[in-house]
Symmetry: C2
Subunit: 174 residues, 2 copies
């Protein structure tokens, strides 16, 4: 698929509800289990998405749209949620993510982006020039990657419990 | 985690709503995209879960609980949904899955399974002896694996659209 704004927004607007449906009200051991040291639990995945709403997607899109002399993005802190999530409950994070995402989609829609604007470039600190279109496609794929990661991490909590079926469940060994 | 019935049910009862939140009302290209020949689209994933509700989990649990002379399971048809899904719409599958799952959880809860019953064995056509506890843990992990697969398949539709960010999105190359 090429990136088309309405298709991308269709996914972005569903992600908070998908996390709520998957995780809301679950026993803590599902929410806090991870894949080992320095890996994300479902709670961490959600915190990471919240951090992205605040610091990554829309702020980077603004840098691109401004087309100022410097279009270099701030590096993204992949472990900010460890700090920011402390003392919060899952229900808080679900609400916070839903509010921030809804607000960011209001902003995105208000821009009425043209093909010309989607082709504008910013400067990624590692990759160099990237387009607004690529940034927005990444926002979508990043959401879906964290839905996949969250459900994979949960599945792995039963890696031993499934006994011999582990051979038929590749998700348990990814 | 060891398998505990209430924890397992907590996941099983959320899966239909998770699929609905993730897929309900999305443009067709998200629903029908796959990872290449003989791989599952999001539509196929849902059809596969429906087939499991009809033929796999509860029927196999019944075979175990009956403890008859033959406790051998029927082999599972991993591609039945290709046949059964023809002519159906996504909205039909979302409803069908929700109804079948709810019905199966009524059955599961009605059994009030004891530890002794969870330790009873059936015969898997390939693995040999497996316990009811392992079967139920597999039901849960299988659900989560298909949530992960569905979102991974969707993410991959933007493998090219994300440009250089592909290097940071391992989900696109799994």
């Amino acid at each position: 698929m090429t990136f088309q704004l309405p298709d991308g927004i269709a996914v972005l607007e569903r992600t908070p509800a998908a996390f709520r449906a998957l995780l809301g009200g679950l026993p803590d051991q599902w929410i806090d289990g991870n894949e080992g040291p320095n890996t994300f639990s479902p709670f961490d995945n959600l915190g990471h998405l919240i951090h992205g709403e605040r610091t990554d997607w829309i702020p980077r899109a603004r840098i691109i749209l401004a087309q100022a002399a410097s279009r270099r993005f701030e590096p993204y802190d992949r472990f900010a949620q460890v700090r920011e999530g402390q003392g919060k409950r899952l229900a808080d994070l679900l609400d916070e993510f839903a509010v921030l995402r809804a607000r960011n989609l209001v902003t995105l829609r208000s821009w009425n982006l043209s093909d010309r604007e989607l082709a504008l470039e910013g400067e990624h600190p590692e990759f160099g020039p990237v387009t607004l279109r690529q940034l927005l496609a990444t926002w979508v794929a990043h959401d879906l990657g964290h839905v996949a990661q969250t459900s994979r991490v949960m599945a792995k909590q039963y890696r031993d419990a499934v006994g011999p079926w582990r051979a038929y469940l590749p998700v348990l060994d990814r």
